[in-house]
């Protein structure tokens, strides 16, 4: 299970990489592994406003469709259009090529509700017990 040090995490297995007032968001390695082969992703559109812990995308795997919740509130600046034809990038590279969107962070205080990598690792280990 890959859990990079420098990211922030949610209990629903989304991640955020912060850089200044922007954040790149996606789903974790744990999430992609649990979902299995990802076949389609409904991404938020640039300009859309997303809200922390609220729906922002849908991921479909062969078996099921699952909601993705925004780790932080903000405005979508960019969505990863490579995923339209290659959703399997999320299986292959959940934290890099498989990123979902870049958002302009509305409220940096919301970061306090996220887990760091050590906390997320403990959380994931607790789930598999």
């Amino acid at each position: 299970m890959i859990i990079p040090d420098n990211l922030f995490y949610t209990k629903d297995h989304e991640w955020a990489r912060l850089a200044g007032d922007k954040a790149t968001i996606g789903i974790t390695d744990f999430a992609q592994s649990a979902l299995g082969d990802i076949t389609f992703i409904d991404l938020p559109k640039p300009g859309a406003k997303v809200e922390q812990s609220k729906w922002c995308a849908t991921v479909e795997s062969v078996k099921a469709a699952s909601d993705v919740y925004a780790p932080l509130s903000g405005e979508v600046l960019k969505a990863n259009t490579d995923l339209t034809n290659h959703p399997e990038l999320v299986n292959k590279s959940a934290y890099d090529a498989g990123w979902f969107a870049v958002i302009k962070i509305a409220d940096l205080e919301e970061k306090s509700k996220l887990m760091n990598s050590v906390q997320y690792k403990e959380y994931v280990q607790g789930l598999s017990k």
Binding site: G36, D37, T39, F40, D42, T58, E60, S61, V62, K63, A64, A65, P87, N91
Partner: protein
């Protein structure tokens, strides 16, 4: 259903764990859903040979003379017309013509039969047969001791030939024979649930792990989970009992009337004839989405702006790269018509199509047309 109820395990459960399979409950059994990944496994079966643990399914051995018993009344198949060594697909119906189960009948000899049924319905089917069978018959549920492996894919004959001998190539579609494998004389039929050339092997449970290992020692064969079994069968438009058909649905509604032999008496026939005369109030349709987005079980089927029915099975089709599905609608909807499959904010455009979705299956390869 409480998934923490004690699940039955096949003789291969430890093999699956060693192979790193994801296991999940299915029909009261702990079964492998996937090994390397559903899409990779699906494609492997379409191109090579895949091995499935199907030990959960039920098998009954029946001795019944058709003239002196009512076995023929309990299934929709023309048992009298079956040659020895033939397999036939059909149904066991209730009085209302609802499907108690879909099944395969094997005619071993004039009065000797094997019936293969779904896992979750095995006990109910057995009780139904026991209750209704009359005349000089013996009925044995051998599900606990007889295992089954399915080997499916265009290379399955090449793989199986190494173990069963060249005679395996003589088997025609929907026939079976006895073959000597691992010191046992076992039934192998040329049947399956994938649309590919393939075989179902009935082996005593104690030799199942050995057979599994032997078949997988051939690198052309790989283990395949129930996840890919589901996408493979859906691409063929095959119904899954408990999901697409059940005791409240008739074969006519399911579009499976061609598996009914009407020139005999059987339980449910009167209701079926009545429905045939009056017409059905719902019918199964098949639809292909215009994108990778996939319909799911219970999504609404909307036709001309009105709700017409619900999806029973839906998935991404690995072979076609689009969403596909099937479900019942109350309207008559012609091939080529547009429907929308929706739930909450999801709305998928799809076209009504014929089955199978996947048309290049090797199941009947080598058959004289």
């Amino acid at each position: 259903m409480n998934e923490n109820l004690i699940l039955a395990e096949t003789p291969l459960v430890n093999k699956h764990k060693e192979l790193g399979a994801k296991l999940a409950p299915f029909g009261g059994w702990l079964m492998p859903i996937q090994y390397s990944g559903i899409i990779e496994e699906h494609n492997w079966v379409r191109q090579n040979a895949g091995l499935f643990d199907i030990c959960h399914m039920g098998e009954f051995m029946i001795q019944a003379d058709l003239a002196k018993s009512n076995l023929g009344n309990l299934v929709t198949i023309d048992l009298d017309g079956m040659p020895f060594g033939a397999c036939r697909y059909g149904f066991m119906l209730n009085e209302q013509a609802g499907i108690i189960d879909d099944l395969l009948v094997y005619r071993i000899a004039a009065s000797e039969w094997m019936v293969v049924v779904n896992a979750a319905t095995t006990d109910g089917d057995f009780a139904h047969l026991k209750k209704h069978l009359t005349g000089a018959t013996t009925l044995k549920n051998v599900s606990q001791s007889l295992g089954k492996l399915d080997l499916q894919g265009p290379l399955s004959a090449d793989v199986l030939e190494e173990l069963a001998g060249p005679g395996i190539r003589q088997l025609r579609y929907y026939t079976f024979g006895y073959f000597k494998l691992l010191g046992e004389k076992i039934i192998i039929s040329r049947t399956g649930y994938t649309g590919e050339l393939g075989y179902e092997l009935y082996m005593p449970n104690n030799k199942i792990p050995q057979l599994w290992d032997k078949l997988l020692s051939d690198k052309r064969a790989r283990p395949i989970g129930l996840g890919a079994r589901d996408t493979l069968r859906l691409e063929m438009g095959y119904s899954l009992y408990g999901q697409d058909i059940d005791k409240n649905i008739t074969p006519l509604e399911a579009g499976l009337g061609h598996f009914i032999y009407l020139d005999k008496e059987f339980i449910g026939k009167a209701s079926l004839l009545k429905q045939k005369q009056n017409g059905v109030s719902r019918r199964m349709i098949y639809f292909a989405a215009d994108s990778r987005r996939s319909p799911r079980h219970n999504y609404r089927i909307v036709y001309k702006g009105r709700e017409a029915g619900a999806v029973t099975s839906g998935s991404f089709s690995p072979s076609l790269g689009i969403g596909i599905g099937m479900g019942y609608v109350k309207d008559k909807i012609a091939l080529g018509e547009q429907v929308t499959l929706s739930e909450n904010s999801v709305s998928i455009n799809a076209k009504v199509t014929e089955k199978p979705f996947y048309k290049n299956g090797s199941a009947k390869s080598g058959e004289i047309k």
